[in-house]
Symmetry: D2
Subunit: 343 residues, 4 copies
């Protein structure tokens, strides 16, 4: 049995981790920590788990977590994980960070987009970007896995085959993404109240959203050259789900068949990517670890429109974190993530 | 022109008041106050009103409001209005309080249900309970109008004819009420976040909700004897609307015709009560000042089931407050409240 | 492996059955039938299951289903199952009917409430009412299991201990129930369109809903005498979930402890009933087979208010049907129904 | 008083017309027609209007409507209006068509995108495209007004200043639009059921949506040359509202100031366009005739991102139709459309 700790267990991503891990046959929940609810039971904060996950919520102390665990999941606001993780912990334990601190390879980019110092710079070289479809091999031996962001997981997976196979003009990429409200977290902000969110849609973080450099980093890596793109997130009155509608101009001479081949080349055999004959809807992947992808070519304008859908809390956060753990610990990659379809 | 002040203008009821008053042909908005947003413009907090209601948000000081206004609407948490209002202000101005402080005639009941002292005890005798269908005459000359609660408006109007005409066994009344989330106000509580409220229904305040004594007070008055009842509110994932499903056992010998006559006797000619041939749905009255009411007799059990629907922010708060102002200032009672149907 | 057929696989309850059965380790999906979509694949109608449940949709012919199956689930409008099932099929196979045809013991009641003839009268004596918490023993050997209705499951479980232990006045029961929209089925009715349902709440079937006699039948059985009650269902703008708010007057001399004892007596050890210290919310049981129950005594009126919550498609339909199958086939009762909490 | 007929009065756009017209001080509702509900009263189909708009629903016969009306609003599926309208009717009456039949100037484009013949070809030259911000003068004298589509109104208004002032590369335009469900109409389709739409987002009509040529027509007119663009609509789980997120590459040398000037030049003084300092949200314009617009320049990519929001049933349909009527009949352009902000 793998002993697991979750620090930040009462946020939306953290509680989703608890849900998934509590049904994982090879895992034992060893330590749950919560800054806001320390001293309560998990089921006091999430009564849905009454009588099923009644574990106490402990101090958010990574040392104490490490004492009793093999793997430590961190689900914290940016800037905190990088202060918590130490080289000593990484020697013996696996840390999977659901936050942003270890995702960007460039400290400068981190400072520019997050507007703060980075406190774990020395550990950054050890960090692997935990997107299994692209980095599965590195994840296998890693002790520090930077779990990708929700928008980024969806957007990168949707565009990756087009970029990697050089089928699109790299300066033409526009990502128009839509997310459910759980992506905004569980903090008490007026903007997240039911009456402020329901029956409305809005864009936010226009030109400034922090997932932009993360998408650019991975697509640049795939392209073998710098990719700069426009990314616009929107808030949709639903709880879960991300849809990325991605636009790009096809490179000269690229055919529909080339596009098909690229997607199949990248995703055939992948357990959690489904290339679908229908246009994805977020409900099709709700509560699952799937990323559904489809694309259409607009002959009139020479563009390809690729659409990807995930559950932001599963493939966009907790599910992918468990997938990464499964890989890192040589468990069955799909263990605890086997749902047949969205619900 | 009646000059109007709104203290507590940025809560949900307060902003609804601003909406209605800003379209009232006989009213000029003279003073908007907000504890949390003082110094901003109203449209900074409610961008829906950009370029239309750009008034500054002032200090929540009733004296300053009174200096420039004829009517002062108070939309504040309980316990505050009773400290603000003074006998001097009431001499010259009309105060319409949307909070609970002046609704209960009994100080003991107030202390028991609200768990705090009452600071305006000396003014209480002047207060009129502002439910026009029952107290229109007293409202006309009043300078202190206690605007009824949302659940109470709906529940009292739905049961009033049955109680007044002694058609039901008074100890048999059960009110099962359902409200949209705006009734919980605009405060930053985890419980009101979109992801906590959406896709779920719950009861709350079971046996302890503060609207209970208010309903009992008015129905006791109508019955001419003490009425004690069970009231259970529920939270529904929608923004606006209250539905009160009211149950009572018919008194011996009461017929369906008696019930019809009672409702018609009470509400024929009332501009905002519609006795409908269909079972009310809250959407039928959304954004209007209507209270739609229907009832059915359950021959199998000898019960009458009466259902009422209102918009909690309009007939349940701001709309009724404006109706009370219209009456108090001898304006057309329906002015600014003429919507033909729910939206 | 138990071979399972689902007739009516593309309705909401039917597709939920497919979901649960497709993850059941002791079950093989042998036959899916759909009246409307025969010839398509299941995943054509429910793309959420793309590449996971691609089975063809066959003719809704119970003989053909029986040829290849051990258990046949029927998820059909009332009046159809009773014509399909035959004594021959019941000799060798187990039929679990999610519809209403075999629930009521009294043909007269069936005719009165459903307004149609009953075509399976001769089989009715064989039918067991499939509520495991009450009829587990009979279910074990049965070949014809009448799976309870959604409102009825929730309402009966919530009231059963009070009635069985004679703690309430039996003529005082009122059930005010609230359901998500999936309870209305997947038929193309204007009333179920998003824009007709969203942002509103309504009562329907007031005094006439067909789940009334079913609740009365089971509670009468528990009481040992006839129980007649008032049941009012409401439609809530959410997809899944039922909340039953049940009211009754306590019998003379009954204490809070008596009530506690009754509930514990009935439900201690039950895998799917949770007596909770909090007031149930439907989200706590969403997608699970739990029925969460709590109660409060209103000293002021001498009433008990008991609240129960289920997922109408799981414990209220497909989950309970699988639970019944598990019992009938001597499998682990909780197999495929082990979710730790609502999602 | 202008006497008004609405043919197609029970669809979502038609009923919104009835709502607005019933509060219009210069209009008398003279004839309401409904194909599906002929013989009923309007308030039977829309009980929200009980006792307020109880007019009978007549045959959908334009001649009969013309006999008693000055203006005839047609709110019908495409292909029907063009068969109904005649030159004779246009001689004496004003027809405002909310459908698509008279919007496209090119019969070929109509055939290509709508896949059917056009039956009113001879009247097409008379038709004016009813977008007041661009065609106010032509609307004034017109007898046949083609009311723009919902997506098109929002998208054209958002992009018009950029195109007209040649500030963007015309081949770079991408419109990613999001709509509430009322845009799909009131027809009984499985896809529009609450449970199919709620808690999900999807794209549809990718590369093929019929509003594409309409947007291109008007922007080409503004540009003085052919504009070809990509338009992708999405369905959002809300009732009303459209948000158009529009992307384009700035032409060489264009500054932020140039963009500001262009928007002000086009919209200063316009009663229903608000250039807002905040990013638009659809709730800010809900139930109003406003189009809120903002834009941001992405220095990193040289793009401008312009966002527009409307209520699809008001500025996107019925409200704009009334605005067109107000102009055509020389009434106050804002009459019956004066709401101060979204609700």
């Amino acid at each position: 049995m793998v002993k697991a700790a979750v620090i930040g267990a009462t946020g939306y991503a953290g509680s989703e981790l608890v849900r998934i891990l509590s049904s994982h046959k090879d895992v034992e929940l060893a330590y749950l920590a919560s800054h806001s609810y320390q001293g309560k039971k998990f089921s006091d904060v999430y009564p849905a788990f009454y009588s099923k996950v009644d574990l106490p919520l402990m101090e958010d102390d990574i040392e104490k977590a490490a004492d009793v665990s093999d793997v430590i999941f961190l689900s914290l606001p940016h800037g905190i994980a990088s202060r918590m993780v130490t080289a000593d912990i990484l020697k013996e334990k696996v840390v999977i960070d659901l936050g942003a601190d270890f995702r960007l390879k460039s400290i400068d980019e981190y400072k520019k987009w997050y507007g703060c110092e980075h406190y774990g710079q020395s550990l950054l070289p050890e960090a692997v970007y935990g997107l299994p479809e692209i980095h599965r091999k590195e994840i296998r031996g890693s002790h520090l896995i930077a779990n990708p962001g929700c928008y980024t997981t969806c957007s990168i997976l949707t565009l990756y085959p087009l970029v990697k196979h050089h089928l699109i003009k790299k300066e033409s990429i526009i990502i128009d993404a839509k997310s459910g409200v759980s992506g905004a977290g569980r903090s008490e902000k007026t903007a997240n109240l039911f009456c402020e969110v329901n029956e409305s849609i809005k864009a936010y973080g226009v030109t400034t959203h922090r997932h932009t450099p993360e998408i650019e980093q991975e697509l640049s890596l795939a392209a073998g050259e710098d990719v700069r793109l426009t990314f616009t997130p929107h808030l949709v009155p639903m709880q879960r789900g991300i849809l990325s509608t991605c636009y790009a101009s096809l490179a000269d001479g690229v055919s529909a068949l080339d596009v098909d081949d690229a997607y199949r080349d990248c995703y055939d055999g992948e357990p959690f990517v489904r290339l679908t004959p229908y246009i994805p809807e977020t409900r099709y992947v709700r509560t699952t670890n799937f990323c559904d992808i489809a694309y259409k070519i607009d002959e009139r304008t020479g563009r390809v429109i690729a659409l990807g859908a995930i559950d932001n809390l599963v493939k966009g956060a907790a599910g992918q974190a468990v997938e990464n753990m499964n890989i890192a610990f040589s468990l069955n990659e799909t263990e605890a993530l086997e749902a047949k379809g969205g619900i």
